[in-house]
Subunit: 134 residues, 2 copies
């Protein structure tokens, strides 16, 4: 597979925990899968912004850009704000990303959504809390 860009988008928060979560997840993705150049950006409060990281990708040697929102579920950011930044009409998940001198495909991935892995994570946290009690 040719090298692709992966932009992980976080919500941002006044507290440090959302930024830590997003950047740590981006780091693990980059270590796990060498097909991707991974960067992370934030919708609000934290830096770098999504726009800044899109600009940073324009000089990378990538054959496509995949934008992945680290959000639990669809909401206004997912359905409207991020598509606006990406230049995608609402409800459309494919577009074009302008690099320095050429265009490559852009795809916009889904947020987490219902997934058995999510139930597994919640049970893990529940049992961890019970263990701490005993």
């Amino acid at each position: 597979m040719s090298t692709k860009g992966l932009l992980l988008i976080g919500h941002g928060s006044k507290k440090p925990y959302n930024k830590e979560l997003v950047e740590e997840t981006a780091r693990v993705i980059g270590m796990t899968d060498e097909n991707f150049i991974v960067k992370s950006g934030f919708m609000s409060i934290n830096e770098p912004s999504v726009e800044e990281q899109l600009d940073a990708f324009r000089s990378e040697e990538i054959e496509a850009l995949v934008v992945v929102p680290l959000f639990l579920a669809k909401g206004v950011h997912i359905l409207k704000d991020i598509p606006d930044i990406l230049g995608l009409p609402e409800g459309q998940y494919r577009g074009t990303f302008r690099l320095n001198g050429r265009d490559v495909p852009l795809v916009y991935a889904q947020p987490i959504g219902s997934d058995p892995l999510l139930a597994e994570l919640m049970l893990k946290n529940a049992y961890q809390a019970i263990d701490d009690l005993l």
Copy 2:
């Protein structure tokens, strides 16, 4: 293991997707682990509220209550608003829950946080988006 209550707390949203995610995750947890009676409640906008579901647990035959926030990372809801509702001082994760006629232990679990499973979920969504492109 004796029967415990598991209250899954969601953020709530004007759009239907957060509520769907939380309720579906609660359903899967209940199907996966028969040690728990599972209910879900919301911090804002959606019903039932966290307070309503705490009241619903007071008449259940449970030996402990585990409160699990379906949030990505710590923020104001996790650090202040939910502890306030549970009667826990900030930074404390164990307390007491008043059933009809007796007290049982209450534990407050962590949100998702950094987890290799989260990176795995994001990569899955990235590859799904790429497959849709091809």
